[in-house]
């Protein structure tokens, strides 16, 4: 039953992705100033949004783990799996942002990279979660999950600080397009395409997240089965 649901969902996601791709490449109009390359926005922005969401999932998982680890060990394991899946998939999407951004920047600004707040913020975010994954790799023994959860909380603390500093001075990176002040906003045709791509990427991201979560859960369950076997043998 669960398998069928996931299969169906995956099919929908693929359809959405194709539709989004079609929209982005063939339907959306060229940008007035940047021309063709502007289309990268349909990958850049959704990936960033998805990454942010998943880091939030990771934070929630970390907090969940710490609060349940004594009282409901089983639930805590689930929370930990969410924390790990969120961090891992989030890092992947964040990497996409960090790759598409410079590609775009090379054309738009003539340079690959600059140290403005938005870019630095994103890079720091990526670094923090990579260090989280490294901790999970290097730390040994049963305390890994606890330590990782603690680091997850610390990392998340950092994000708003870095993020706020964004608001405090001008950036080279485009200002918020949506809900910004004067002169923000984009053409409705583009907006629609962006909307479709957003949807497609979210759907896709959530699919990967859930799959990763299940793999991790299966991993945990296998480990405990193996453990039970070891106890028998």
């Amino acid at each position: 039953m669960k398998k069928i649901a996931i299969g169906l969902y995956a099919a929908v996601v693929v359809a959405l992705m194709i539709w989004g791709f079609y929209q982005a490449i063939y339907v959306a109009p060229d940008d007035a100033m940047q021309g063709e390359l502007f289309r990268i926005i349909y990958y850049h922005v959704p990936s960033a949004a998805v990454a942010f969401l998943f880091f939030a999932v990771s934070l929630a998982g970390s907090i969940g783990y710490l609060s349940y680890r004594r009282s409901h060990p089983e639930r805590a394991q689930g929370a930990d799996a969410w924390a790990l899946a969120g961090a891992e998939v989030g890092v992947i999407f964040c990497t996409v942002v960090l790759l598409t951004g410079p590609l775009w920047g090379r054309r738009a600004w003539g340079i690959w990279w600059t140290w403005d707040a938005r870019l630095t913020t994103t890079l720091v975010l990526w670094l923090i979660y990579v260090s989280y994954l490294l901790l999970r790799r290097f730390a040994a023994g049963p305390q890994v999950q606890t330590l990782a959860a603690v680091l997850g909380i610390f990392g998340a603390l950092d994000v708003p600080i870095v993020y706020m500093s964004n608001r405090w001075w001008r950036t080279q990176h485009p200002a918020p397009v949506f809900g910004g002040g004067e002169g923000s906003g984009m053409a409705p045709a583009m907006k629609a395409v962006l909307g479709w791509n957003m949807l497609a990427w979210f759907a896709w991201g959530i699919l990967i997240l859930v799959l990763r979560y299940q793999v991790e859960r299966r991993h945990q369950i296998n480990a405990s089965n193996e453990a039970l076997d070891a106890l028998e043998g």
Binding site: L66, T120, V124, L127, I128, V130, S131, L134, L135, F138, A139, A140, G141, P142, Q143, T146, L147, V150, L151, I153, F154, G155, L157, D158, I161, V162, S165, W168
Partner: protein, 222 residues
């Protein structure tokens, strides 16, 4: 002040005092770092005033990290950490004592090295110099506070020394940024450092509070 905090402080200070190793090495090390940076970034150039803030902060950072790596070495050596786990007094005090002691040492090193730094880089302070006495301690506290915490967090891992830097640096970047910007603003006198100082203070308060709250979790992780 809680009694246990005091006990931890006295113990650490006594051990340090007995050999003076940590402080002497840190002093020499920081001196070396300043020299190395002078070799690497020729301070005769026209932009020395611009990079001096960065050099000062990065030098502080590397010198402190070497100290931080050793911060729990004594506890690790003969599993003293297990003894600390068996003791009923709260872990937060153990943490705080370590932070204070290390903050104290790094500060001493800074005070001693500052004049040399000014001489090597031919600096003159264009802004309000006394603000430096606020920026440097705040930045150092951010570094040491987080450093001690993450050093404890990485005790049980393989690759302990490395892991500390790997975890600490990303989280420390905002504080470093604020510290560098504030210092440069003060040295060049071109901008107003207040915003950065506030950011630094906020960072310190948030992170120290959370560290105090979570240290027991880390100490009794298994």
């Amino acid at each position: 002040m809680p009694r246990a905090l005091w006990t931890h402080l006295v113990k650490d200070l006594r051990i340090e005092w007995r050999s003076l190793d940590a402080i002497i090495s840190m002093l020499f090390f920081s001196g070396l770092v300043v020299v190395l940076f002078s070799v690497a970034f020729d301070p005769r150039g026209e932009f020395s005033q611009r990079i001096a803030g960065g050099v000062l902060c990065v030098a502080t950072m590397f010198a402190s990290v070497s100290a931080l790596n050793q911060a729990w070495a004594r506890e690790i050596r003969h599993n003293v950490m297990d003894a600390q786990r068996m003791v009923p007094s709260p872990g937060a005090e153990l943490y705080l004592a370590k932070v204070i002691v290390n903050f104290f040492f790094v500060s001493i090193v800074q005070v001693i090295l500052a004049p040399f730094f000014f001489i090597f880089y031919n600096l003159h302070i264009a802004g309000q110099g006394w603000l430096l006495a606020l920026v440097l301690p705040l930045g150092t506290w951010a570094l040491v506070g987080n450093g001690i915490f993450f050093a404890a967090l990485s005790i049980t891992s393989r690759n302990r020394e490395f892991l500390l830097s790997l975890i600490l640096f990303p989280i420390f970047i905002p504080a470093l940024l604020a510290m560098v910007q504030a210092t440069t603003a003060i040295l060049t006198g071109e901008r107003d450092p207040t915003l950065w100082i506030k950011l630094l203070a906020g960072y310190d308060i948030i992170f120290t509070t959370v560290s105090l709250l979570l240290f027991d979790v880390v100490l009794h992780a298994e």
